[in-house]
């Protein structure tokens, strides 16, 4: 089965939500804020439901690596809340590599789809 575009978008949405949850969770740990931690957990659960729904629409070997995008979001957004987490050239190279890598996987997925016997 070729991987559908909506499935890819759902997984990207998941990574955005997961990264948000990670940051919320980290904020809620020190000083301890039970509401933020619960919010983080709720977001994780919602993300899980969205992810499994997304898996209906495509190959795992294509959709799963997209989760690496969460490294991108956390790298970009974390410095806004935790000034000690600064963006630096090494992280930028990493972010670009992840985007390139995911693009190759998407391209490889199209190659597979074009040779599929329906």
């Amino acid at each position: 089965m070729a991987t559908k575009l909506w499935a890819i978008f759902l997984v990207l949405l998941c990574t955005l939500l997961t990264s948000t949850a990670q940051i919320i969770y980290k904020i809620g740990v020190k000083p301890f804020n039970i509401y933020l931690i619960l919010l983080g957990i709720v977001i994780y659960l919602i993300t899980a439901a969205i992810l499994i729904t997304a898996l209906k629409g495509g190959e795992l070997s294509v959709l799963y690596p997209i989760i690496a995008t969460s490294y991108v979001w956390v790298s970009l957004f974390s410095p806004m809340f935790f000034p000690s987490d600064i963006m630096n050239p090494l992280k930028w190279v990493g972010v670009i590599c992840i985007i390139i890598g995911i693009s190759f996987i998407g391209f490889g997925s199209k190659m597979n789809a074009s040779t599929e016997v329906v």
Binding site: I52, E59, S61, Y64, P65, Y71, G94, I98, S103, G108
Partner: protein, 117 residues
């Protein structure tokens, strides 16, 4: 802080076991719906969540016990396992572009790990 061997071991084990989670979650997706009664009966969902939980549980102490430049790329081997399992258990096909993509992702994660230190 040097990276302790136990941390590496936990991450390697966590990646291997944790990678089975997504496989079962993919299998569970066919029968997945938000009806609580059906959710509990979805065996693949339960098994998938257990493997995923084991992987996460192994990662969390490990990531505090070592350098991210070493541990992050080891965590990223999960993508390799998932791709291998998906060929074996899910009838998916890999090709050189998909493998190249995974390699570049692992390199990218390594840079982020180094940059996070």
């Amino acid at each position: 802080m040097a990276t302790e061997l136990w941390a590496i071991g936990l991450v390697v084990l966590g990646s291997f076991l944790g990678s089975l989670g997504p496989i079962y979650l993919k299998k569970s997706s066919k029968d997945f719906c938000l009806n609580p009664k059906k959710l509990i009966k979805n065996r693949n969902l339960i098994i998938g969540l257990i493997f995923y939980g084991i992987g996460t549980a192994l990662f969390i102490p490990a990531l505090r016990g070592g350098e991210l430049s070493v541990l992050y790329p080891l965590v990223a081997t999960t993508y390799v396992w998932v791709s291998l399992w998906s060929v074996k258990f899910l009838n998916e096909r890999m090709n050189k572009y998909k493998w190249l993509g995974i390699l570049i992702i692992i390199i990218g994660v390594t840079f982020i790990g180094i940059g996070s230190m």
